[in-house]
């Protein structure tokens, strides 16, 4: 993960080689040196590329193939080609739509809150005095270092009605029912689940944002201050636009993560009472019910949705990461 911030480019590294800015470029004959470099590139990246293809694309294609069958692991001889009918079952079932709704809700709420909190923490880490900087960063990063399953159990026991202390602590709050069973209805259960997700992954976002913040040259901010810009104006007009690529990376990574949320829900409610999400539905269908066909179809849908999400994030922020000239286009 530590390599991620380095992929956030702030300067136009290749700009001198390509004055046209990447648009409408003409094909010039490549020099011997360029060809040698390309060859070297393949030698260096090729093995990794082929391994990635083997471990990612092969299972994805297999899942797509399986999703076209009615196939139950305990009845292999009854395996039957059914075309796209598994997808028909999924899209016509309210269980899928409700899981999609809950997944989307969790993604939107957690990413939004984490972005704001994460930015605040990033500012704290950025501005902390040199002597305390290491300590502040360590303290902020502790939750992210905890294994998700462990953190899920901790949050579960905190809020559980028989062994938890939250009900006890807050029983003095007017209107709060000290006998509240947090995990017995969707609203309160989702609140705990999202709270734990936010607590756990805000440090990750703040780390990415800190990398972006560190790349905004101080002189820009100072120049704006000299011109009479208020702190708020400097934040919105100078700092944030200059770290757009970092924000995009943070939102993209967290949104994809949040969309595939599994551990916390598996531990806390196992999908009961309106807390079912897509990855849990896929798990319960493939692994629990052993319906490989139907489960693969759900996984494929989840995969396509995640891909769509990534596409929207990249397009929406209008940054070209691969081109090495992030920021503006």
């Amino acid at each position: 993960m530590s390599s991620i911030p380095t992929t956030v480019p702030a300067v136009d590294a290749e700009a001198p080689d390509d004055p046209s800015g990447g648009r409408g470029r003409r094909k010039a004959p490549r020099s011997e040196r360029a060809r040698a470099e390309a060859r070297l590139g393949w030698w260096l990246a090729g093995p990794a590329f082929f391994i990635m293809v083997a471990v990612i694309f092969y299972p994805v294609l297999q899942a797509f193939w399986d999703s076209l069958f009615s196939y139950r692991l305990t009845a292999p001889e009854e395996r039957e080609f059914v075309g796209l009918s598994n997808y028909g079952v999924i899209f016509s079932d309210p269980v899928f739509w409700s899981a999609l709704g809950v997944t989307t809700l969790i993604t939107v709420v957690t990413v939004f809150v984490e972005l704001i909190l994460g930015f605040m923490l990033a500012m704290v880490m950025h501005k902390a005095i040199k002597s305390t900087r290491g300590l502040v960063r360590t303290v902020i990063l502790v939750p992210y270092g905890i294994i998700t399953v462990v953190s899920a159990f901790a949050w579960y026991y905190m809020f559980s009605i028989d062994s938890g202390y939250i009900n006890n602590w807050f029983s003095w709050v007017p209107g709060f029912d000290g006998q509240l069973n947090w995990f017995a209805q969707g609203g309160s259960a989702l609140f705990v689940i999202m709270f734990s997700e936010i607590w756990k992954t805000t440090p990750f976002i703040s780390l990415l944002l800190l990398a972006g913040l560190a790349q905004v040259p101080d002189d820009l901010s100072e120049a704006a201050a000299v011109d009479g810009a208020s702190w708020w104006q400097r934040l919105w007009r100078v700092i944030l636009p200059n770290m757009k690529a970092a924000i995009m990376v943070a939102v993209l990574f967290r949104a994809l993560d949040a969309f595939r949320v599994f551990d916390s829900i598996f531990i806390m409610t196992n999908g009961a009472y309106g807390t079912e999400v897509l990855s849990l539905l896929a798990y319960r269908t493939s692994i629990g019910r052993l319906e490989i066909g139907l489960g693969s179809a759900i996984s494929v849908v989840l995969f396509l949705l995640v891909g769509l999400l990534a596409l929207i994030a990249v397009k929406g922020f209008n940054v070209d990461l691969a081109g090495g000239r992030g920021g503006r286009k």
Binding site: A75, P76, I90, V95, N181, Y273, G288, L290, L294
Partner: protein
């Protein structure tokens, strides 16, 4: 493991060519490992049993075992199996059928209920190892105040009335978990009904018996306890352990639960977590009746031993199974780990009476016990029930049984997600 490896390296201990049998065990207090050691010693070098521990809950155990069996894993020599999942594994032929002499020797005095859970399509496909059943536990002080005679039959309606009158809570399991199916099945079977009318039918012909007199009565009991808050504030997430904690508290009155609660409560009393005199206030009897004039059908649990069809050492595995389930081992397992025997004679040992004063009630309960629906689609049936019957307060005796029955059929026909 380390010690035996060291012994092997040193050239002593069992010879290196001793065949090793793998026994997949459910987590316990070390009782199965001890029996494995004992049987390995008794085998005199014919085989050595190594245990491999499965995940904590029954559903995860099933997931791991089924995937391994479906993949033809040859290490599946002996498996500790939860009875409801046996048909699912037996139907595709994942389980080896015990040779007739093993079947004969291991089921000579097996209790009726346990034997029913070990067969599929009238063939014995596993060997009962231990059997479990739920009893009705009650607080003597509460019963005394209510003037109930616990030597005679007790009905759910009576218990509900006592809880209402004395402002007490009932220890039942209303969480969206397997425990909910256990409860519903016992209520329906006690009322003379069945969740599945034709358990051996293929998926698209299964007939569901939830929308029957017995089914509606069962839904009414669950609904009453849920809507009136008689199961405590945590009912919707309450499983066996939470029910026990509720029962141990000030509002405890009645509870249906497995016998593990007895050693657990005694241990808590010794530790000071509950009042030291609490065990003296606890009584037990067979499971409550759904209606006054029919015998109850208490829940059946336990563990059976199966041998994988892909195992390369089936003969040795059956020898080992025969050793493991001997009545002496069952007695010892009951006394040390609290899991009741499936063999009737194993209850006769004096050490059993000493540690479990309710042993006779357990044996009686095991004779009455009814298994959960024995179908290869048990996981679907149980999950659908859990989704529709929880939280208990949402159950409507008029609509829930019929809707759940229809839902199960849609799921089995592949028309609905679960």
């Amino acid at each position: 493991m380390m010690a035996s490896a060291a012994l092997l390296l040193a050239g002593c201990g069992p010879a290196e060519d001793t065949p090793v049998l793998t026994w997949y065990t459910n987590p316990d207090d070390g009782g199965q490992a001890a029996i494995a050691q004992k049987c390995s010693d008794a085998a005199g070098g014919a085989y050595r049993i190594e245990t491999s521990i499965l995940p904590n809950d029954a559903a995860s155990q099933r997931e791991q075992l089924t995937r391994r069996l479906a993949a033809g894993d040859t290490s599946m020599d002996i498996m500790s199996l939860d009875p409801p999942f046996i048909p699912e594994l037996a139907e595709p032929g994942f389980l080896a059928v015990p040779p007739s002499e093993v079947a004969e020797a291991t089921t000579r005095d097996t209790l009726e209920g346990a034997l029913a859970g070990a067969t599929w399509r009238d063939t014995l496909v596993t060997v009962p190892f231990w059997a479990n059943t739920q009893l009705l536990w009650y607080r003597k002080s509460v019963v005394e105040e209510a003037g109930l005679d616990m030597d005679g039959p007790v009905t759910w309606d009576q218990m509900i009335q006592v809880a209402r009158d004395q402002d007490k809570e009932l220890g039942v399991q209303g969480a969206r978990a397997e425990a909910m199916t256990v409860w519903l099945n016992a209520l329906i079977e006690s009322g003379g009904g069945q969740i599945i009318e034709n358990p051996e039918a293929p998926a698209d012909e299964v007939e569901i018996g939830l929308d029957s007199d017995a089914g509606r009565k069962a839904a009414e009991i669950i609904s009453t306890i849920g809507t009136e808050g008689l199961g405590g504030p945590g009912l919707a997430t309450q499983q066996e352990n939470e029910a026990m904690l509720l029962f141990q508290g000030d509002s405890g009155s009645f509870m249906v639960n497995w016998p593990f609660v007895w050693p657990a409560t005694n241990a808590s009393a010794e530790d000071g977590a509950v009042p030291a005199d609490l065990p003296e206030d606890i009584g037990w009897s067979v499971y409550p009746r759904t209606s006054g004039d029919t015998e109850p059908a208490p829940p059946l649990g336990g563990i059976n031993l199966g041998v994988g069809a892909a195992s390369e050492q089936q003969d040795l595995a059956w020898d080992a199974v025969e050793c493991i389930v001997s009545p002496e081992n069952q007695t010892e397992y009951f006394v040390t780990n609290g899991n009741p025997p499936s063999s009737a004679s194993a209850f006769d040992d004096p050490s059993v009476r000493e540690r479990f004063p309710m042993a006779e009630t357990i044996r009686e309960s095991l004779e009455l016990a009814a298994p959960r629906p024995q179908t290869p689609y048990y996981n679907e049936v149980s999950t659908a029930i859990q989704q529709r019957y929880t939280p208990p307060a949402s159950v409507d005796p008029e609509t829930t049984p019929a809707e759940t029955g229809q839902f199960i059929q849609e799921v089995l026909r592949g028309e609905s997600l679960l």
